[in-house]
Amino acid sequence: MYALLGVSLTLSINGAKMYNWAHGELATVGAYVVAVLTTFHGVSALIAIPLAMLAAAGLALAVDESTYKPLVRRGANSIQIMLASIAVSIFVRYGIFIYAAAAFILTIKASVEMPVLTSLLGVQITSLYLWIIPSALVTVFALRTLLTRTLTGKQIRAMSDNAELARVSGINVTALRRNVWLIVGVIAGLAGAFWAMYSFITPEIGFDLLVDSFAAAIVGGLTYDGTVIAGYIIGLAENVGAYLLNQTLGVPTQYKILITFSILIAVLIAKPSGLTTRRMREL
């Protein structure tokens, strides 16, 4: 799930040239849509998830049109845009808080029955695992194909490299930007939807996941493949690492976020471009 969120974040960073702190909120929205629809309206997961993705996409687009684009037009620098995105994230998050508090669903989980498949090392594997891992891989693969094989994809890459040049070559940058945000929203919404099925969510969950997502994106050097790999590394390191440290050295599990931080710092110092190869960077 870190991978999904990280990849969509990378896309938004490269495509729109900005760091979107409200990215987490896209996932929160997706999560809540799925949770509310499945729990209170009995909608099946197969319908709820696409709806969640649509909602997140819609939100992403709305935010860009109303806030980020005007800012860029006025020549705001990247810090100001980042600040604005923080403000957006606060705005959306507390909006969700108000809704959740009013409906008494400050904590909720999606009601999707997950049959247990088998037992592995004392951990029961539910069909959820079967959903998530392949979906993540498929999504990433689809994104990759989109970016390498299709015209739109190539245009997006061109825009990431040099927006001015792209525009001059006749690419409709505005429309393309819109599409980028839609895709970003869709993937982030999916990540959120999965999270709601996996565990309980609160309005803050997007922001909580954001830290790890940023870490994944940076460690992955802002490339797509890199981010996915970094996402899995971080996810595993955090969970497995914390467990192992606890068992062997008696380190309390609260320190697990330090593991992510250490990885991030180590990478930034040693290799600021992240865990990438030349080929990945070309993407």
């Binding site: 008494f104 904590t107 029955e113 004392g122 565990s199 606890n246 309390p252 599990t253």
Partner: protein, 423 residues
């Protein structure tokens, strides 16, 4: 790099207009709700300040305190009226303590600025500590029905707690588990004042009885506890998956549900009994608010816990619970009874003093408490200003014909330290 366009007068005007509109709108909205005090030369009105967590994680508990206080005040005014008295009580508009320590200080200072120096504050232990100096220097009486940390069991000047410190609950839990044949406990608890406090007390009491405890703290700021549950499973495995091993949980309901959810996938965890302190006992951990699988887990592991409650036949409590249910449609999930009692305590103290003189109220509060019996039992305070004794009800989760509910199956009496089960 081209310079950005310089701000024109138009944009400056727009900004001011927007900010002005926002402020104006807020003032207008507020003005609608301002009720000018009705002056009647005969009635004397005392105000009890109200501060509570109305936003953030503590919101549901905070609103319960407010409702409980409102119920208490309504009842008090009713009996004052029927006695022909010209005294009435009102509650201030509740100040939001934001579930943070800074928020608590802001709320108390605001209430004090508004002239309310006698306050019922739904403050957890950290918040109480944050306001202590301010309260004592400015002579502000604060009663909290929700701080149970044993670390604060020291004299607090103008602050009182209408609930007993967790030293009692730790003892109750130790007795409960020992009596049930448990000798090994894997304790998973919230890494904050509450969790650290109660796990420490339990550890001392249980090991004194001859038992063994493995402690594991979890970070309350996390949203998912898969790793922590995995560690717990290993701990249980080490202790031995049998009838003498149990898991004990101390935390809030949101974390409980997440942890139960993950625990259900570990054979070692479903193979032992689970116990809990009062933290998670709320309808939010029962179906239909959670998936049925969690409910099944709770029944399968015979989830049993303690809760501060009077265990004798308490008519005051029954009446209060009925009133609460009538008003909100649900029963209170946390310290509603304590808040209700605390309101009565403050009101009675003010009546005895005949004014809102905070020093006099502070002096007489222990005496009033010693003669009061409320929904939570005897309100007598100890020398630290905390409730001197507390019984604990023992609850478990039952599933009758598909409906999950809590059921009180007995109680721990603080007077005797013994557990009795209902027939």
């Amino acid at each position: 790099m081209e310079k950005p366009k310089s701000p024109s007068t138009t944009s400056r005007a727009i900004v001011f207009l927007v900010i002005g509109l926002l402020i104006g709108g807020a003032v207008g909205y507020l003005a609608e709700y301002y009720t000018a005090p009705t002056s009647s030369s005969k009635t004397v009105t005392y105000t009890i300040g109200l501060a509570s967590d109305l936003s953030g994680g503590g919101e549901s508990f905070g609103t319960e305190t407010v409702t409980s206080a409102q119920i208490a005040v309504a009842q008090i005014n009713a009996y004052l009226a029927s006695a022909g008295s010209n005294v009435r009580f009102t509650l201030s508009s509740p100040a939001d303590t934001l579930t943070t320590t800074d928020g608590a200080l802001k709320a108390i200072t605001s209430l004090s600025s508004a002239g309310d120096d006698i306050i019922l504050c739904h403050c957890w232990s950290g918040q109480l500590q944050a306001v202590e100096q301010f309260a004592n220097t400015n002579k502000i009486v604060i009663v909290s029905p929700s701080s149970t940390s044993d670390a604060l069991a020291v004299s607090k000047g103008y602050m009182f707690r209408a609930i007993a410190p967790d030293a009692f609950q730790g003892k109750a839990l130790a007795t409960l588990l020992w009596n049930d044949g448990i000798r090994n406990v894997a304790y998973i608890y919230r890494n904050d004042a509450y969790g650290q406090g109660i796990s420490g007390i339990f550890n001392t009491d249980f090991t004194a009885l001859g038992g063994k405890v493995t402690l594991e703290a979890y970070d309350p700021t996390l949203t998912d506890f898969a790793t922590e549950v995995a560690t717990l499973a290993t701990n249980v495995q080490t202790l031995g998956v049998n009838a003498q091993t149990a898991v004990l949980f101390s935390g809030f309901s949101t974390e409980a549900v997440n942890i139960f959810g993950h625990a259900a996938s570990f054979a070692s965890l479903t193979g032992v009994r689970w116990f809990s302190s009062d933290g998670p006992k709320s309808a939010t951990i029962l179906p239909p608010q959670v998936p049925t699988a969690i409910g099944q887990f709770e029944v399968q592991t015979n989830l049993t816990g303690t809760f501060p409650q009077s265990i004798t036949n308490n008519t005051i409590a029954t009446a209060y619970l009925a009133a609460f249910k009538a008003q909100t449609g649900n029963y209170p999930q946390s310290y509603g009874e304590q808040a209700y009692d605390a309101t009565y305590l403050l009101a009675n103290a003010i009546l005895a003093v005949g004014s809102e003189n905070t020093t006099a109220v502070q002096n007489i509060l222990p005496t009033i408490a010693a003669h009061t019996y409320g929904a939570t039992g005897a309100l007598t305070l100890d020398s630290n200003g905390d409730k001197a004794s507390q019984d604990y009800a023992i609850w478990t989760v039952v599933n009758s014909a598909g409906t999950y509910a809590f059921k009180n199956i007995g109680g721990w009496a603080s007077a005797t330290g013994e557990i009795t089960y209902n027939q």
